[in-house]
């Protein structure tokens, strides 16, 4: 259970990126965070693991308020929060395996990570995760030898290697083609289902957000202006988030895919039932 209370971020330049944002995400819920560029989506998810220091407000995971933790406590809290990035943010010159194992850095002392002697269970877990994301044969390749979709799969494996209790996902599909985007979103969603993992997914593509998430938050100029089910995101809501625009074309497209996109979520649910 993640609770954000009155989160405010004012940058040194005086830009107010977030204005008093309050929201709570129950465990197992996958939330899509949409909004125009510069609305504060990235700032919001970075305030949760304090890659960006919030100016005021609280971020509570369970009982502890992340904004009040000391440096070493913060490191321990970050272990429990997996993050997946736009443009993958893999360490390009390390191997796939090293990238996945870097998810364990918070758990091992420096000398073990320096000599790359991770505990065997971490390595086993990394192999299992690479298998899970479909990269079983690529463990020894260098990260920069992979395609965009494959790199994002490594990014997902790295986040899961942390044994996270929450996933923060920042524009996972921004540099991927439409088909790969859907595959990556489906993979993230499936994994969240398997593990009952809550996730906050920053995403530009409204149709993708509607297809794959259970709840949508709309951010505009640092303020939360929409919070509801994907189906409740109508033209009025889109205008509230993004401003005036003729949304009919986009709505029609997503309407065409309506049968498919319902089956998308339902299929995952059905698979879930089988498992």
């Amino acid at each position: 259970m993640l609770t954000i209370e009155g989160l405010t971020k004012t940058y040194k330049t005086g830009d107010k990126a977030l204005k008093n944002v309050s929201v709570s995400v129950p465990s197992g819920q996958v939330v899509g965070l949409i909004g125009p560029s510069g609305a504060g989506k990235s700032t919001l998810i970075r305030c949760i693991n304090r890659l960006v220091e919030p100016t005021s407000g609280a971020v509570k995971m369970g009982d502890s308020d992340i904004t009040r933790l000391s440096r070493s406590e913060l490191r321990r809290a970050r272990r429990r929060i997996g993050m997946i990035f736009q443009e993958y943010a893999l360490v390009e010159r390390l191997t796939v395996m090293e990238n996945v194992l870097s998810g364990r850095l918070g758990y091992v002392p420096f000398w073990r990570s320096f000599t790359r002697r991770f505990p065997q269970e971490s390595v086993d877990k990394a192999f299992a995760l690479l298998e899970r994301v479909g990269l079983g044969d690529h463990a020894d390749k260098r990260a920069d030898a992979l395609s965009g979709g494959q790199r994002q799969r490594v990014g997902i494996a790295r986040a899961l290697e942390q044994d996270p209790e929450l996933l923060l996902v920042d524009e996972p599909t921004a540099s991927l083609d439409p088909k790969t985007s859907r595959q990556i979103m489906r993979l993230i969603l499936e994994i969240c289902r398997e593990r009952g993992l809550p996730a906050i997914i920053n995403i530009h593509d409204v149709v993708l957000a509607q297809d794959f998430t259970q709840r949508i938050l709309g951010l505009r100029a640092g303020e939360l202006v929409f919070d509801g089910a994907p189906d409740a995101l109508d033209e009025a809501a889109l205008t509230r988030i993004y401003g005036e625009e003729d949304w009919t074309a986009m709505r029609r497209r997503s309407g065409d895919e309506e049968p498919e996109h319902h089956s998308e979520r339902e299929m995952v649910e059905r698979l879930e039932g089988l498992a």
Binding site: R78, R79, L90, V91, S102, G103, G106, F110, S113, R158
Partner: protein, 271 residues
């Protein structure tokens, strides 16, 4: 305002007439200054000597040829010393330069107000003093010999390596750093996993480049008594043994060509 309206149509020029005139005047001043400085500098030149120069050069040239090939036997040991001075000096410089580079880089320094300026000062101090002058100081402090040469080369290398390395560190992709930090990694682990892999190619390139420069610099350190082939050069110059001097030049040239070839190969292999 390079956009003007002439006959109702907009016209665009790179510069306004006024700017063009100013730039032209600036160049004129520069040429005038050059001519003036040239006159000041050559006031004490004795032109008779300059006219004589080609004859003098031809005279020394004729005495330098042919090189005394047999002298090479006595050059091999000093040459070995020279290579050792360059290599050990480079290693010494790198060992000291790496931590300084991390302290000087804006994105890894522990404190921008105190530590960074100190690190930058060390870099500037090391770079501002030529290795020949370092050697001169060190010979009078620790006495003549190879050790003074090694330390002189090392001290001079600190600034060069640290400067290029800290610039490489400042240019890394911060997203990779952010990603590693978000896993709960400690500061040392972030450096090891996110920063070192990104600067490693630059580091090897810088190290080999500096080694290559140091080979050239260490050939003259003997002039001030800091060991190596320069000692032989000075001895030969003192007794006007021109064929030996030529031989030393040949050996230095060959060494530099080989070191440059090696450094090009190594850099090519890394990148």
């Amino acid at each position: 305002m390079p956009v003007a309206t002439i006959d109702g149509a907009p016209v665009w020029r790179h510069r306004t007439s006024r700017q063009s005139l100013l730039i032209w005047f600036g160049w004129l001043c520069l040429v005038a200054l050059f001519v003036f400085c040239w006159q000041v500098m050559t006031r004490d030149t004795i032109w008779a000597f300059v006219e004589d120069a080609p004859r003098q050069a031809a005279d020394i040239g004729s005495r330098m040829f042919p090189p005394r090939w047999s002298y090479i036997e006595r050059l091999l040991l000093p040459l070995w010393d020279t290579l050792n001075i360059a290599t050990l000096g480079t290693v010494l410089g790198i060992i000291i330069a790496v931590p300084i580079a991390f302290l000087a880089a804006r994105n890894t320094t522990p404190s921008t107000l105190i530590v960074r300026p100190i690190a930058l000062f060390i870099i500037v101090a090391s770079r501002s003093i030529n290795s020949l002058i370092w050697a001169l100081l060190l010979v009078s402090i620790i006495g003549p010999g190879v050790l003074a040469g090694v330390i002189a080369i090392g001290l001079r290398s600190i600034g060069f390596v640290a400067k290029l390395l800290y610039e490489a560190i400042e240019e890394i992709d911060e997203k990779q750093v952010e990603a590693v930090r978000s896993t709960g990694a400690s500061g040392a682990q972030v450096i090891d996993y996110a920063i070192v892999p990104q600067v490693l190619p630059a580091f090897f390139g810088i190290a080999v480049f500096r080694w290559d420069i140091n080979i050239r610099e260490s050939t003259i350190l003997g002039l001030v008594g800091a060991g190596g082939i320069g000692l032989q050069l000075q001895a030969s110059l003192n007794v006007l043994a021109w064929p030996q001097v030529t031989m030393i030049f040949v050996v230095i040239l060959a060494t530099v060509v080989i070191s440059e070839w090696v450094s090009a190969k190594v850099r090519h292999a890394i990148i």
